[in-house]
Symmetry: C2
Subunit: 283 residues, 2 copies
Amino acid sequence: MITDSNGVVRRRIEWTLLAKTEGGLTQAAARHTPAATVRRMTYELHYWPTIQGRGEFVRLALEAAGASYVDVARGAEDAGQGFPAMLRYLRDGKVAHPPFAPPFLKDGDVLVGQTAAILHYLAPRLKLVARSEQARVWTQQIQLTIADMVTEAHDTHHPVGAGLYYEDQKAEALRCAKEFCSVRIPKFLRWFESILVRNPGGSRYLVGGKLSYADLSLFQLVEGLRYAFPNAAERALAQAPKVVDLHGRVAALPRVAAYLRSVRRIPFNEQGIFRRYPELDVP
Amino acid sequence: MITDSNGVVRRRIEWTLLAKTEGGLTQAAARHTPAATVRRMTYELHYWPTIQGRGEFVRLALEAAGASYVDVARGAEDAGQGFPAMLRYLRDGKVAHPPFAPPFLKDGDVLVGQTAAILHYLAPRLKLVARSEQARVWTQQIQLTIADMVTEAHDTHHPVGAGLYYEDQKAEALRCAKEFCSVRIPKFLRWFESILVRNPGGSRYLVGGKLSYADLSLFQLVEGLRYAFPNAAERALAQAPKVVDLHGRVAALPRVAAYLRSVRRIPFNEQGIFRRYPELDVP
């Protein structure tokens, strides 16, 4: 854990320094330049700075689209960013539409919370969803089903409640994870596989014949399952070849690949949603 | 429990008979007349026939708007409805957009699953959401936060997994419910109260100055909490007077009041999401 945590912290400082070095910015880093230069076009993402968590679904959409954004809580406090900048929106009694929890997105005057709502809002702007209402609602439905599975994955290590440490609910977690690995992972993956097989637009994408944010989210879900439950995930994925293909295809998208290699991608760790506790996986 | 269950069954038969008696239909019952007469304008709601569950959020929206709909799984099998009609969509390998689970809505050729997506789709058609994109996304965000709380309420009696009986996870449930009652109920209700207080359109509704589906859903959430956790709910609601007011205002809407008195409203029971297990409430 300490290694991971240190890794995260080191990387964060590195990224912050990089983002500040305005002279020598790479194109990838420039997309994250805050303030002055691209203010009006820059999205502000607010999320916990040391985990992928639910914020990662939004990061992936912004990265895959090459959008200009600031990952506010990971920025420097002396630049008006950092953790306090995020807390302000959660605590300021004057915010008319306060989010219940991170992640939330600020786009000019618009503040949007709830991962699925953020993606539904962003997707037409980032060209990550088809135009028809039917395609939009189907994409949203897939995202909400992914979100359900993400919640269940989280609850394997926190079945009693998020207010207690894992160590204080380990007995419950062992039972919960057993059910998740043996019943829920296969059931959800069967559904994702079946909708890929049935997609009238072909099995390369979840919706129609083009990349949507649902594809990015399914990629992230598979990443998380493979990290947290390597044995259970591989067993279930063996029955879901189209899901595996999609995961590989998304990982190879140039912008996504560049992001995954960058310091902006926070490594998985045991503070996030997907945690590697070997005792929770199947043998 | 047996009384409740019997009650549900009795009421279901009664409603089915009523809906079939085409000659003497009341206006309220006519709205649910299937097939021939109003086919093109009739929504099909598919949900478990003996519980309120997540389907109730959709039922409330349809009822409050006076929409024509069929609660398919509660209909008669010899009229092509009933439980098998619902299962068909879940099991038919030819459905291109199969829902992962009930509830789902059929509107002509469109099939929509996931409660929040169904409501987002239905709301503009039922005039249960304001027109601006910002209002729509805020309403959706509130709905998703209500959905999160509904999931947590469900998990109090099924913290290990939905595949096991409550009796087989009671020890875990006791710990989970304690956390839910003492921490989560107050936290969620504080947020709902605060967004009512801050609503620039006034505190009578959650979004702007008009009824939206989020108001109906918050009504249902309060109903559920009061049923399942009467002590914890009353304690937390004492700090949330605007939520209590809203609940009362929704209950008094003529169409909602008529629905709540009708046989179409399934009573709470111990098969649904909100279950009254006194041991899970605070003393």
